[in-house]
């Protein structure tokens, strides 16, 4: 019996470490899989001993029924808005003018990445013109110089993208226009 065990061990021992690593990774994936949103008391941010925590809405309760995303809040927020899944208020004061602009701007043409399409409509559904103009960006086409380094540092688009709007891991959502589809002008 002991001899058999030793033979088995000699034959299979080399699989022990890789096997253990694979098992651990699988267990981790299983543990992380179903919990897209952590309960507040387990997020490391809220105090589980706080008296208010049992009364607060849990992210999973609010977000699970909304269009699913792979990043950020795991919610396609613009889609949630457009599909009517949510209908957030546009204003508190009746006199506030709710402004929406339907205009696409193509920026960062002919670089090493596909060009960027900036859709005003999706942005102004959420934001007012004055949130970006003329502080973050000048309201004139071609007047702004964009830098990915600044964006990654929380400037320009990075004020929201990477903080509350979809994160900067989602390159192709902005860099979405193939340069080949754009016409080169005679004068740049």
């Amino acid at each position: 019996m002991a001899e058999r065990l030793r033979t088995w061990w000699r034959r299979h021992a080399r699989w022990l470490w890789p096997g253990a690593v694979v098992l651990w990774a699988a267990a981790g994936a299983l543990a992380a899989g179903p919990s897209l949103w952590l309960p507040l008391e387990k997020d490391g941010l809220h105090d589980p001993a706080g008296p208010g925590i049992a009364l607060l809405q849990q992210p999973a309760e609010a977000l699970a029924s909304l269009p699913r995303d792979s990043a950020g809040n795991k919610v396609r927020w613009v889609q949630a808005l457009e599909s009517g899944a949510i209908n957030p208020r546009t204003n508190l004061f009746p006199e506030t003018k709710v402004r929406v602009l339907d205009q696409d701007i193509i920026i960062s043409r002919f670089g090493s990445m596909p060009a960027v399409k900036f859709p005003h409509r999706q942005h102004t559904l959420w934001l007012d013109c004055s949130n970006c103009h003329n502080g973050l960006f000048k309201d004139k086409i071609g007047a702004n110089r964009f830098s990915m380094l600044a964006i990654l540092n929380g400037e320009q688009c990075g004020v929201c993208h990477g903080a509350v709007a979809f994160p900067l891991t989602e390159c192709n959502r902005c860099h979405s226009v193939p340069n080949a589809s754009l016409q080169r002008k005679a004068t740049p």
Binding site: L45, G50, N73, P88, N91, L92, G158, G162, A163
Partner: protein, 122 residues
């Protein structure tokens, strides 16, 4: 030996400290000093109910976390959070623990989530 280190690395990877929901902001300019829990402001909760422009344009909240000096006295006077947190649109300022809900000592700032660690520099 290398395998042993790899295993140690694999064991450490799933661990972390803060797994806040994406866009959670901690306000702690005054809280810890005043002996109350810091505030957690969840963007996800609010944007289901209000568009960004309501707070960031009508109510005057600057976009960058840390650039607003939010005082309880202002909230009670109906400014900032107090525009809605007035027992009419949302719970009133006497429900301290619903907002002051972070672990004591949590640094102020905007947090990432369990996949994105958050902004590069804020």
């Amino acid at each position: 030996m290398i395998r042993a280190w790899l295993l140690v690395l694999a064991l450490l990877l799933p661990m972390g400290t803060i797994h806040a929901e994406y866009g959670d902001v901690v306000l702690n300019r005054h809280s810890d000093k005043q002996g109350v829990r810091p505030v957690v402001f969840p963007h996800w909760f609010h944007r289901i109910r209000f568009r960004c422009k309501v707070c960031h344009q009508e109510l005057g909240f600057q976009m960058r976390a840390g650039s607003n000096n939010v005082l309880m006295s202002d909230i009670i006077d109906g400014k900032f959070c107090g525009m809605c947190h007035n027992s009419q649109i949302a719970w009133g300022p006497e429900r301290c623990d619903l907002c002051h809900s972070a672990r004591p000592g949590t640094p102020a700032g905007i947090k990432g989530d369990n996949q994105t660690s958050g902004p590069g520099r804020w």
